[in-house]
Structures are given as structure tokens and as C-alpha cells.
Amino acid sequence: MDKFKVMVVDDEMDFLETIIKRLKARKIEVTGAESGQKALEILAAQDIDVIILDVKMPGMDGIETLREIKKRKPMTEVIMLTGHASVESGIQGMQLGAFDYVMKPVALDELLEKMRQAYERKLIQEGKT
């Protein structure tokens, strides 16, 4: 499988740093953003395949960020990460075009699997066009 570029967006710095380290250790190209604003800046600068996006963040929240991402780079796949199991926000995310949603805390392997599936879908979608 091709290498794919990942971005993790979460306001919890400890979580963000650690998950980046762990993904890098698994040879995945990954960047981090601690806010929705920052994520959009990074997305403007480079191509990202899969974004892991926390729903609940101060300032620009996950749903809003997702809406922006889909507006600017509709092909980017987004996995919503939520500490809140509110299915409303999950479903809302799905309706806005998110690939899936995962509840915190999540096992890294599970997350990796989801990322791979998301990337696969991206490839298929791109192949179609």
C-alpha cells in the first residue's frame, strides 16, 4: 500500500504529541494541528490524505472545520474523533462527508485500520474522476 499523509487535529497537546510520535514510529507521514484554524492553514500548504479530527475543540470546533475542509479539499477523508458519544454529532459529521467516527479513547490499531480504509476510499474516489 502506498504511503499516505495524515494530519491529526486535537486541542489536547499531550494526546496530539503522543499519537504523532506513535504514528511516526509506524512509518506514517503525519502532521499535527492543535486547532481547526491551524489545520486549515496546513491543509492549504500541503496535500493531506486522511485527517483525524477531534469534534470538540475551543474556537473552531470539529464540525465547522470539517465543513471548511470539505469545501476546500473535498477529496480529503476525515475521521471524526469524539469524547462524546453523541450520535447526533457523529451522524452530522457523516452527513457532512466524514468517513467515519471513532470514540475516545481508541486503540491505535483500530485507528490505523480506519485510516487505511479511509485512504482506500480516497483512492477509489480519485480513480473514478
Partner: protein, 551 residues
């Protein structure tokens, strides 16, 4: 307290009902009785008055007739003829033919000498001189004299009538003795009933006739003194602790007084009967009212208690679901707040684990310790995660799936999961299904979760050796399906019964139960539009009842 309140209410209703119905009844009865009594008393008095007047009239008539007979006799026969005893005898026979009341007849001159006599006491009376007798002086003064009753020489009650006759220069007296039997008879006719009495007294209150009960002839009567009355009198009077009705009137010819006594008890019998009937009717009415009041009050109270109970149940259910909603919100908040740090801990531990694999730490003497510790951390993060996820599941407002479900099948499958466990613990799970149970639209996965939960709890509660009965039935009245899960475990203490649906409430050992099972079950059933209830008796077992609407 509740009992007391109902009892008090019961009495209030009964007493009010009785008060408002019995009082008018009594008033009505009393008024009717008093009206009747008044008119009846008036009637008795009236008839007594008539009786007295009638008797007085008869006596007066008797006197008048005798006087006019004597007057006619005296004025139509000259003295010369009457003093001849043969002639007098003839005349006597003529008047006696018309009236047997004459005993004898005598002619007396102005000096009191008996000139002639006809009658049975010829030998005694022939030579008597009356000059000093009281009656002689009275008749010389007033012309006509009627004596009181006396025994006289004859030792027999009688009286005399004397008429003064003026013939030219000659004055003489015609005197007749009259048998008082006739007066007695007239008076006796007024002795009514068993205790009624009638008698005549003179102005000195001396009896002139023989009464039935009130004394002896020529003595003072055993009755109130009526000798001074001047006209018709009717009165109820006490005499020697006996109340009687007395009527009295003056006999005009002789200024005697006729007294009639009547026993009011005898005369008032119809009135007493009326009183008795009135009382009976009132009593029967009161009885009917009491019975009616008791019955209607009982029915009313039953209705009231039932309504109160229904209200309490629905209030209870409403409170329970409000509580659940509030707790759900709180649980979701807490879960969310915990999930974030939990995620950090999880990641950190994962990173440590990654490092352990990559670095040369494998050579460290404490490598195994590190590895174990990290694994433990991950394990417990997972455990905590399960709790928070279940909590969130409890709060989740997931739209239930709508599908046709068959409760019997779901229950059958659920029992199937647990059969091994139950057999191992020697617990018999019996299915008592209503085979005719219709399908309903619901969420089979969620229902299965609920049943699994309750059955698991039942198995845990029993521990070993026991019985669980699973029943289904159709409840057409409330258009619902009912499921009962009955175990014969130790039961739930009363004070815990209303807490078992609260989240985190558990009786299991720490670590074995999260205390969320029943509260999640409760909210699932609630969301599915049903009701879940529990009944338990310590030492007998516990019954969970679930109602699901048919739709």
C-alpha cells in the same frame, strides 16, 4: 397515616350524609306526629265535652219531668181529695204507670203533719212530723225543693222532690220520694272504657251517685275537687300520681256537678299507635339511610383509593423517567470529561509500549516489570473506557430500529445464550409463552440486551439451585405485550427497591458489576414506549415485568 386519613374521610362522609338525611326525616316525623297529636287531642276533648253535655241534659230532663208531673198533679187535684188515701193511691198508680221512679207520695200540711201517704213505708212515715226538717223549711221558702241523695229512714239511696201548693188560704206540700237508680243509670252510661268513671257530686263535694272506682256513695270522691265549677270544664289533671282527663259540668236543676273521668292512655291508643308507627318509619328510614350511606361511601372510598394508587404509580413512573433523563445528561457529561484524559493516558501507555519494542530496553533487568506495568495501564484504561462507553450508551438518544419482532423468539434466543451457565449452576429456566402472541414493531437487539440483563441478574441473584420462569402474555386491554421474569432468589430489600433502576446502583461485588445494566434496560424500554416494573419480596424472589405496546 394514609389509613387514618381514609378512615377520617370515611366517617366525615358517613356523618355528613346521615346528618343531612336523618335530620329532615326526624323533623318531618316530629311535625306530622305533633300535628296529628294536636288534632287527636282536640277530638278527644270535643267528644268528652259532648258526652258531659249530653248526660247533663238527660239528668236535667229527668228532673224537669218529675217536677212538672208533681206540679201538674198538685195543681189539678184539690187538697180535700188528695188527703183521702184511696184517692191518693189512685193518683200514685197513674203516675207510677208512666214512671217507676216514684217510690212514694205524701201530702203534708203547713204545720209539717203528714196528712196522707202512699208507699211502702206507711207504718214508719204515717205519723211523722216534718216541721223541723231542713227540706220542709226550704220548700216553704222557695216553692220547689229537690234534696241531695240520702239514705233516710229507708236505708236506701233516694231523694225527694217537694212542691208547695197555695190553695185559697190553705198552703200544703206534695212530696215525692224518687228512686235515684235512674240517675245512677244515666251517669253509669258515661263510664267508658276499662278505666273511665262518671259520678255526680254536690256543692260540698259529696258523691251523689256510686262511681266505679272513685269512692263510695255519700263520701268524698277520690278525684280532684270539681264542686266549685260554674260551667263546662275539660282538663287534664293529676290525682295521686295518675294523670287523667276530667270533664265537669253543672246540672242546672240541682246545682250538682257531673264529673266524667277518662283514662288518656285508653283514649289515646290510636295516638300511641301513630307515635309507634312514626318511630318505626323513622327507624326504618334511618336504617335504610345508614346502609345506603355505608355502601355508597364504601364504593366511593374504593374508587378514591384506586385513583390515588393509579396517581401514585403514574407519578412514580414520571419521576423515574425525569430522574433518568437528568442522570443521563450528567452521565454523558462525566463520561466525556473522563474520556479525554483517558485517551491521553491510553496514548502515553501505547507510546511506552512502542518504545519498549524499539529500544534496547529489552536488556534492562526491569524490562519485564516495565512491560507488565504498561500492559496493566492499558488494561485498566480499557476497563475505564468500557464504563464510560456504557455510561454514554445509557445517555445515548439513539433512534431505535423499527422492525417487526416476535417477543417469544427473542426470549427463546436469549434463554439459549444462558442455558449453559444456568445448567452449570443448576438453575432451571422455564419458558411459559403465550403462543398466540402477536408481533410488534420494536428493536430486537435492544430488547435482547434488556432480557439478557435481567436474566443475568436473576442467575446472579439465585447463585445456585433455583428456578427462573419467563412468561409472555397478550394484554388486549392496554394493547400491550407483557413479559414477566420471575426468579426465586433472595429478593430485593424494600429500601433498595426504588433505587435499582438508578445508574451505578449495584449489590454485586466491586468490579463485578457496573450498576448500569438495569438503568440502561430501563431507559431502553422507556424509549421503546414500554414500561418496566419490579416487584420483590425478601426471601421469596423478584419479578420483573415489562410491558411493550403493540404497534
Amino acid at each position: 397515616m394514609q389509613e387514618d386519613y381514609y378512615r377520617k374521610l370515611w366517617w366525615n362522609i358517613i356523618l355528613t350524609t346521615l346528618g343531612f338525611s336523618v335530620i329532615p326525616l326526624f323533623v318531618l316525623g316530629l311535625v306530622i306526629y305533633l300535628q296529628y297529636s294536636e288534632s287527636y287531642q282536640a277530638k278527644i276533648t270535643e267528644s268528652l265535652k259532648t258526652l258531659v253535655e249530653n248526660r247533663v241534659g238527660a239528668i236535667d230532663l229527668f228532673f224537669d219531668e218529675r217536677i212538672s208531673q208533681l206540679t201538674t198533679l198538685a195543681n189539678t187535684n184539690p187538697l180535700e181529695k188528695l188527703r183521702e188515701e184511696d184517692y191518693l193511691n189512685r193518683v200514685f198508680n197513674v203516675i207510677q204507670a208512666r214512671s217507676k221512679s216514684f217510690i212514694d207520695l205524701g201530702v203534708i200540711d203547713s204545720e209539717g203533719n203528714h196528712l196522707a201517704y202512699v208507699g211502702p213505708y206507711y207504718n214508719i212515715l204515717k205519723g211523722v212530723n216534718y216541721k223541723n226538717e231542713e227540706w220542709f223549711n226550704a220548700v216553704m221558702g222557695s216553692g220547689i225543693y229537690i234534696s241531695d241523695i240520702f239514705m233516710g229512714f229507708r236505708k236506701y239511696p233516694h231523694f225527694i222532690i217537694a212542691v208547695l201548693v197555695r190553695e185559697k188560704n190553705n198552703i200544703w206540700i206534695l212530696r215525692a220520694t224518687i228512686n235515684s237508680d235512674i240517675i245512677e243509670n244515666i251517669v253509669h252510661a258515661a263510664q267508658l272504657g276499662k278505666k273511665g268513671d262518671a259520678f255526680i257530686i254536690n256543692r260540698n263535694n259529696i258523691l251523689q251517685t256510686t262511681p266505679r272506682f272513685s269512692g263510695e256513695l255519700l263520701s268524698t270522691p277520690k278525684a280532684p275537687n270539681f264542686s266549685a265549677v260554674t260551667g263546662l270544664t275539660v282538663e287534664e289533671m293529676d290525682y295521686q300520681w295518675e294523670t287523667n282527663l276530667y270533664a265537669a259540668n253543672v246540672i242546672k236543676s240541682k246545682k250538682w256537678v257531673l264529673v266524667i273521668k277518662e283514662n288518656p292512655k285508653e283514649q289515646l291508643t290510636p295516638l300511641l299507635r301513630a307515635r309507634y308507627i312514626t318511630l318505626m318509619i323513622c327507624g326504618a328510614g334511618v336504617l335504610v339511610i345508614i346502609i345506603g350511606a355505608v355502601f355508597s361511601t364504601r364504593a366511593m372510598m374504593k374508587e378514591l383509593v384506586q385513583m390515588e394508587r393509579k396517581k401514585a404509580v403514574s407519578e412514580d413512573l414520571a419521576m423515574q423517567s425525569t430522574k433518568m433523563a437528568a442522570l443521563g445528561k450528567m452521565a454523558a457529561g462525566i463520561a466525556h470529561e473522563i474520556n479525554n484524559p483517558l485517551a491521553v493516558i491510553g496514548e502515553k501507555a501505547g507510546w511506552l509500549k512502542d518504545l519498549l519494542h524499539e529500544e534496547d530496553l529489552a536488556q534492562s533487568p526491569n524490562f519485564q516489570e516495565f512491560a507488565d506495568t504498561v500492559n496493566k495501564i492499558e488494561l485498566h484504561v480499557n476497563r475505564a473506557k468500557k464504563v464510560t462507553h456504557r455510561l454514554l450508551g445509557f445517555a445515548r438518544r439513539m433512534e431505535p430500529v423499527h422492525e417487526k419482532v416476535d417477543l417469544n423468539t427473542i426470549l427463546h434466543d436469549t434463554i439459549g445464550f444462558l442455558e449453559n451457565e444456568a445448567r452449570y449452576r443448576n438453575i432451571d429456566i422455564q419458558a411459559d409463552f403465550d403462543e398466540e402472541l402477536p408481533q410488534t414493531t420494536s428493536d430486537s437487539a435492544q430488547l435482547q440486551q434488556v432480557f439478557l440483563n435481567i436474566l443475568n441478574n436473576a442467575i446472579d441473584a439465585i447463585g445456585k439451585d433455583g428456578e427462573i420462569i419467563v412468561k409472555t402474555k397478550l394484554l388486549p386491554k392496554i394493547n400491550s405485550l407483557g413479559v414477566e421474569i420471575i426468579d426465586n432468589g433472595p429478593g430485593i430489600p424494600k429500601e433498595m427497591l426504588d433505587k435499582i433502576f438508578d445508574p451505578f446502583f449495584t449489590t454485586k461485588e466491586v468490579g463485578k458489576g457496573t450498576g448500569l445494566g438495569l438503568s440502561i434496560s430501563y431507559s431502553i424500554i422507556d424509549k421503546l414506549g414500554g414500561k418496566m416494573m419490579v416487584a420483590s419480596e425478601e426471601g421469596q424472589g423478584t419479578t420483573f415485568t415489562i410491558y411493550l405496546p403493540i404497534r
